[in-house]
């Protein structure tokens, strides 16, 4: 990532990819990239952090990098990953944003699968994403300093500007996704809804593994008569508080699946964010936090359907804990 900082600073469009321990190793530099406003794009194939040594998929790598100040998106299948990659550059390089963008892809269940993808032509890419014009660059003929010391009298102000920029990037994210949808007919939103219109119970997922398998679980529960829908979180940072509040307000219960655990903390990271978004609101739903699919543990649609039914029933009886790790073998 340090090499990418140098590359991007000289004005190159810069991409890299990483995963798991590799992401953990570059943790220090990730903050530097965003604070220096370098529009690097990185694909992160989400896998567990050791120990025990585990190469399989979960979201503990990205969730440990929640606060690096990057735009963070999730692709739910191969097509989304393909489509969102050019969108990431367009978001990152927009002069209103100028921030790095991370595109998250579930390890193995998305990264090591053969599945059909509709491709774009080179002309499509060229039209959608014209050649990169850096806002500023290192140039020996016009020397500038990048990433200098930020003493106490300026550090707070830089953080304020960074936060304002990341929050405001939300507008550009929507614009770029809309533009992509208009051009190529595949529309994406920061938060996707499925069967939510009449639902009083919502399944809330992040990442394609539980997102797509959850889709089938929702269909099965609908077939059994449960008024359930699904919400898929595609934009993790900036967290889309407005969409989240609009969708979840007035529902009876939300079942949140997290593939990471804040050990000794409040449970799942996505559930925590949802609770923060809904805190103090009169029509807030019961938020049931489930931790599953850690370190590559396979979760079946039938299991998800059972876990959801079980959580809803126990919440109705008032006995659901702050969070629960499901599928734990006794």
């Amino acid at each position: 990532m340090s090499a990418c900082v140098g590359l991007s600073a000289t004005g190159c469009r810069t991409f890299t990819a990483t995963s798991s321990q590799g992401l953990a190793l570059m943790h220090e530099i990730l903050f530097i990239v965003s604070a220096m406003r370098l529009p690097i794009v990185m694909a992160t194939v989400n896998r567990a952090l050791s120990a025990p040594i585990n190469i399989w998929g979960d979201l503990s790598d990205v969730m440990a990098n929640r606060d690096i100040g990057w735009v963070q998106l999730f692709g739910n299948n191969g097509q989304e990953v393909y489509d969102l990659t050019p969108c990431c550059f367009k978001i990152a390089e927009d002069r209103r944003v100028l921030l790095p963008v991370m595109l998250n892809i579930d390890g193995f269940t998305l990264s090591h699968v053969v599945e059909p993808i509709e491709t774009l032509t080179q002309q499509d890419f060229d039209d959608f994403l014209p050649p990169y014009e850096p806002a500023q660059r290192l140039d020996v003929n016009q020397p500038i300093s990048m990433g200098p010391v930020g003493p106490p009298d300026i550090f707070t102000e830089t953080k304020k500007v960074h936060d304002d920029a990341l929050v405001a990037s939300r507008i550009v994210v929507n614009e770029v996704l809309d533009d992509f949808g208009r051009r190529f007919g595949r529309s994406y939103r920061a938060v996707e809804e499925y069967q939510t219109d009449d639902a009083d119970v919502l399944l809330f997922t992040i990442g394609g593994t539980l997102g797509e398998t959850g889709h089938t679980a929702v269909d099965a529960l609908r077939a059994r008569g449960m008024k359930i829908g699904q919400v898929l979180l595609r934009l993790w940072r900036p967290f889309p508080f407005d969409d989240i509040r609009r969708i979840f307000t007035g529902r009876k219960a939300v079942i949140v699946y997290d593939r990471a655990l804040s050990v000794g903390g409040p449970g799942g990271p996505v559930a925590s964010e949802l609770r923060a978004a809904m805190y103090g609101r009169p029509d807030a739903p019961a938020i049931l936090s489930l931790i599953a699919a850690l370190g590559g543990r396979d979760v079946r649609a039938v299991e998800m359907a059972e876990q959801i039914e079980n959580a809803v029933r126990r919440a109705g009886e008032g006995e659901y804990p702050a969070y629960e790790m499901v599928g734990v073998r006794e």
């Binding site: 998305l110 499925y194 077939a223």
Partner: protein, 204 residues
Amino acid sequence: MAVHPIVSRVDNPPGREGWTVIELRFHGRGGQGAVTSAELLAHAAISEGRFAQSFPAFGPERRGAPVLAFARIDDSKIYLREQVYEPDVVIVLDAALLDIVDVAEGVKPDGVIVINSPEPPAHFKEKYQFKTRVATVNAQRIALNLLRRPIVNTTMLGGAIKARGLVRLESLKQPLEERFGALGARNFAVMERAFEELVMEDAS
């Protein structure tokens, strides 16, 4: 979200009306090409305009150790990222695995187990008390004769396609060429031979 018509894959209705997905499980050993044949099959189905997935049982692979690979073929988009637990078709690249792996685990009642062996299906039916249909093909001999190598993964695809119409044989031509280059044609030939030679247990 683009909403596709979705068939419930959880409450499998009686007679499986509306159920279009075909699920496959490949049993092999590390180095025998189980993962490759699952991928080739998915490519072939996708080239027919259908939806397909293929993936291995993820993990570090050791040459010679039992491995699994999976595939799904469907007419609509597949919303499922779990492994295959109730296969329609089980493909066994190495009959010696039958003594150490329960290849019949979870097979659907109308499913089929396709085994690489010179023995007739009845031999395995009796020995392992399989409740579902069994088909056999001497893929080892076909591969040795035509490929000059004891690698049976592509050969067994021909047998599986005969046992349960998965894709058109011709749809494998291009994936085989892309994968094996000049050897693609010979891999297609072994597939065709296995398709012809497969011995299917009587439906009765």
